[in-house]
Symmetry: C2
Subunit: 165 residues, 2 copies
DNA sequence: GATAGAAGTGTTATACTGTAACAACCCTGC
DNA sequence: GCAGGGTTGTTACAGTATAACACTTCTATC
């Protein structure tokens, strides 16, 4: 079994511009491969989700789209987000009603998300051990699995230390 | 490591009246032990959640409370549900915005939920293997864990077979 | 038992999240 | 060009959740 792979860690100091560019490039490639259209609107929404590594809510997307000159209504944002999700380019965090970009869209994965409730940082992990346990349980119960939602909430080290001071 | 324990299975043929009575009894005991008050309203809401083993939404609770002669507004339901959740008597299914009764409230557990998207049946499982995997990952990332959300969606065997016919 | 404080519930209003339905537009292949 | 499907715009509304304050009920203490 391969070791758990951290797709996006907490607070990684990095050139985020690079993050964003890479995400957009991978999105173009993924859509090309899947034969679906990454339109200008979808590109804009994806880049908004990728503005940072915290979960983005649909109505935040709407507000930012307005700033960009569009006059969008809710369905505009939800449709774009649903497209991106089905293409594997973003994940939905159910416990927050929000979306994060996926840094590795080309592999079909069911990830686990570790979320800091103080600073909103999210780490995406792909631990096949967890997945196998869940799959085994599903089989035992007779559930033909469609999707996993695994979201762990807590306080990240940085925020935890800040609280002590 | 103990084997995964199925707290509530799919479609178990059973005397549900017994289910309900037992749940209410355990709730009384749990509240007594925790030194919190299981008021009449909270008792009513808990019994509504326990009417069946499918997730119950807050506004369904509201509607049923109206039938029982109250004239409740949303906060009434949400406050009762939040109380029951904090007392460990119900779990919230994040991916459905709904609540299910917990059949084993006395043990502090973080469960996994297996959900049939066709018939809404929910199975609650307590697999320490899953929990340990997640805990290990949280430690590695430096997340001081507060709560787990593990929800597996799919189609249960019974519904799957019905679809074939 | 009176009485203050805490806990619980009622009530109004409002914010946030998400979708149905239909119109208009645009792209692609014929 | 011109159908036809996919995408976006637009209006309206459904569903989920909380803030704020009033009122009641319970509990502890005198
Ligand atoms: Zn980045
Ligand atoms: Zn943090
Ligand atoms: Zn039952
Ligand atoms: Zn089913």
């Amino acid at each position: 079994m391969p070791p758990p792979r951290v797709i996006a860690p907490f607070h990684g100091e990095h050139n985020h511009r690079k993050c964003l560019d890479q995400a957009m490039q991978r999105a173009e490639a993924a859509c090309l491969q899947q034969g679906v259209r990454l339109t200008e609107l979808r590109r804009q929404v994806l880049s908004l989700v990728w503005e940072n590594h915290s979960p983005t809510r649909a109505y935040d997307i709407l507000a930012r789209l307005k700033e960009k000159g569009r006059r969008p209504a809710p369905p505009t944002a939800y449709r774009a987000l649903e497209f991106l999700r089905s293409a594997g380019l973003v994940h939905r965090i159910e416990s927050l009603n929000a979306y994060v970009g996926c840094a590795d869209p080309m592999v079909g994965h069911s990830s686990q998300f570790f979320i800091c409730d103080r600073c909103d940082a999210v780490a995406e992990v792909h631990d096949t051990g967890v997945t196998e346990h869940l799959t085994r349980n599903a089989e035992r119960l007779g559930l033909h699995t469609a999707r996993h939602t695994v979201e762990i909430h807590g306080i990240c080290t940085r925020c935890y230390h800040n609280d002590q001071t």
